[in-house]
Amino acid sequence: MAQRVIREIVEQQKIGPGYFKLVIKAPEIVAQAKIGQFVHIKWIAEERNSDPLLRRPISINRINHEEETITLVYRVVGRGTKVLSNLKPGDQLDIMGPLGTGFSISEDTNRVLVIGGGVGIAPLYPLVNKLIEANKEVILLLGAETAEEVIDLDSFQEFDLELKVATMDGSLGKQGFVTDYLEELEQEMDYIYTCGPTPMMKVIRDWAIDFNVPGQASLEERMGCGTGACLSCVCQVKIEGKDGWTYKQACTAGPVFPLREVIFDE
């Protein structure tokens, strides 16, 4: 059950150009969190300053049961993430969570493709970990601007899986889009998980439809409440019926949706 807690930052570390790792002691969140879920956070504002106003949704990158900590990995892109990056160990963070549906893992799949792009790699570590634990054969494709921006690269390399990286500047792996690897796949896939920029996920969804592979995509949308109340975070998802689609809240019905049912701004 999601809740709101105010908990202490244990660690804040710069892990790449504009990329930060934040570790928070939050037993309640740890006790509940499932892979692929997120937290909706707010720094404790000086004297209730209301600018910037809203919370920020960030995926859970690690759940550490022993330490009772969660880890977030985020990229500074605007004012909120900038303020976040200035926080120090000992500072308090206001956290709503764990939120959203998270990824689910099916018994019936064996060969699983996981594709992450940019900061969309952040929620994938716990997923891959679970897939490996469940003895799946995992092919992991990671894309980023530069080598430095491939989140959790070291950790992923410790797993027994097939890992391929693409960077836009060619500083690691193939130069270009991570989706370029799709053509090279030699085997049929049972399932796909993906999280990353919309153009990337669109290509993957089309491929998944073409090759008839089921899967799950974790989407991003601007969020207000994080609890399903405000309808700001809706995503277009195909359904049976008159129009063939409906809007679903990314914060409660998502952020993970069935890959082939997602409609991206079309």
């Binding site: 059950m1 999601a2 809740q3 709101r4 707010k42 209730r48 209301s50 600018d51 910037p52 106003l53 809203l54 919370r55 206001d94 709503m96 949308e221 601007r222 969020m223 207000g224 409440c225 994080g226 609890t227 399903g228 109340a229 405000c230 309808l231 700001s232 975070c233 809706v234 995503c235 129009d243 409906t246 809007y247 409660t252 701004d265």
Partner: protein, 307 residues
């Protein structure tokens, strides 16, 4: 047990306390159940409801602004029938009063909505004549006194439920509209809805919202809301529900002093999901500290003092 009286009687709409949640910010009442002891709320204005289901606007639907936010949800809702059949049974036994916020494109729409709701177990109908996010109708109703009045009359004819009319701030003289809807038979006035605004992405060089314009809410608009409550309190004799930027108990008290008989919390729920409970507690404390027995004693104090 509370040492002070927080119950209010808004011209027939009896609330156990004057803290309600604003339409569109609190879903259909249950979404915040993990954060709020719902049975402690005075009332919940549910998401704007229409005759037919509505998909709403494309995304992005919100944008952040200095001490505020813009929204252009576009009244996404499953329609009034779905509300009555599926949603209401789940909330009607709560201690809070369920207030159904209705929107239409025509006067007839409003009348039909009222007719459908007339026999249900809700606390009141809130007529939204001020939603800026619907192209047809919406805004116009709330900005012209006779249009506003005719909507209220049409709804009044269909139901004896307490009627709240929600005013738009995008007008020259809000007291004129307030008086018109009072005369047309509304029991209560709620104010304010959002101010029309826009934010532009300077890299993409286009408005951030898919709908281009949206409604501005949050602390930024509080001074405008307080001013309007203060003005309307002097212009009409019916109770007011004040809202617009309320984020703390201090904000809420400003509204009571300006003449609101109850308040509604909107955007602040997003920032702090426990805000309504904090306001409730803070109200009690303020009253006790200032030697009042009853919340009704402070209503309009700032109006009286400055007459």
């Amino acid at each position: 047990m509370s040492k002070v009286n927080l119950a209010v009687d808004l011209n027939g709409l009896k609330l156990q306390n004057p803290v309600t949640t604003a339409s569109g910010t609190f879903g259909f009442g249950l979404e915040y159940k993990n954060y709020v002891d719902l049975d402690k709320l005075g009332g919940v204005m549910v998401k704007g409801t229409t005759l037919q289901p509505k998909k709403g606007n494309p995304t992005p639907r919100i944008a952040e602004t200095p001490a505020g936010m813009l929204n252009a949800i576009g009244l996404q809702n499953p329609g009034v029938d779905h509300f009555i059949e599926q949603t209401l049974p789940g909330i009607k036994d709560k201690e809070f009063k369920t207030i159904v916020n209705i929107s239409g494109n025509t006067v007839e729409d409003y009348a039909k909505l009222a007719a459908k709701l007339a026999e249900t177990e809700i606390g009141a109908i809130e007529i939204n004549i001020s939603c800026p996010n619907v192209k047809k109708g919406g805004l116009a109703f709330g900005t012209e006194a006779d249009m506003a009045a005719s909507v209220v009359q049409a709804v009044r004819a269909e139901t004896s439920l307490p009627l709240i009319t929600k005013l738009s701030p995008n007008v020259v003289d809000i007291t004129e509209i307030a008086q018109a809807v009072e005369e047309a038979g509304t029991d209560i006035i709620s104010l304010i809805n959002t101010l029309l605004g826009m934010k532009i992405d300077i890299e993409r060089q286009e408005p951030i919202l898919a709908n281009k314009v949206g409604g501005l809410s949050g602390p930024a608009i509080k001074p405008v809301a307080v001013r309007m409550v203060y003005q309307v309190a002097q212009a009409v004799d019916i109770p007011l529900i004040g809202m617009g930027g309320i984020s703390t108990v201090e904000d809420a008290i400003e509204f009571f002093l300006a003449g609101a008989n109850a308040i509604s919390v909107g955007t602040a729920n997003f920032v702090n999901p426990e805000v309504t409970m904090e306001i409730l507690k803070g109200l009690e404390e303020y009253l006790i500290e200032h030697d009042y027995q009853d919340i009704n004693e402070i209503v309009g104090k700032a109006v009286k003092s400055s007459e």
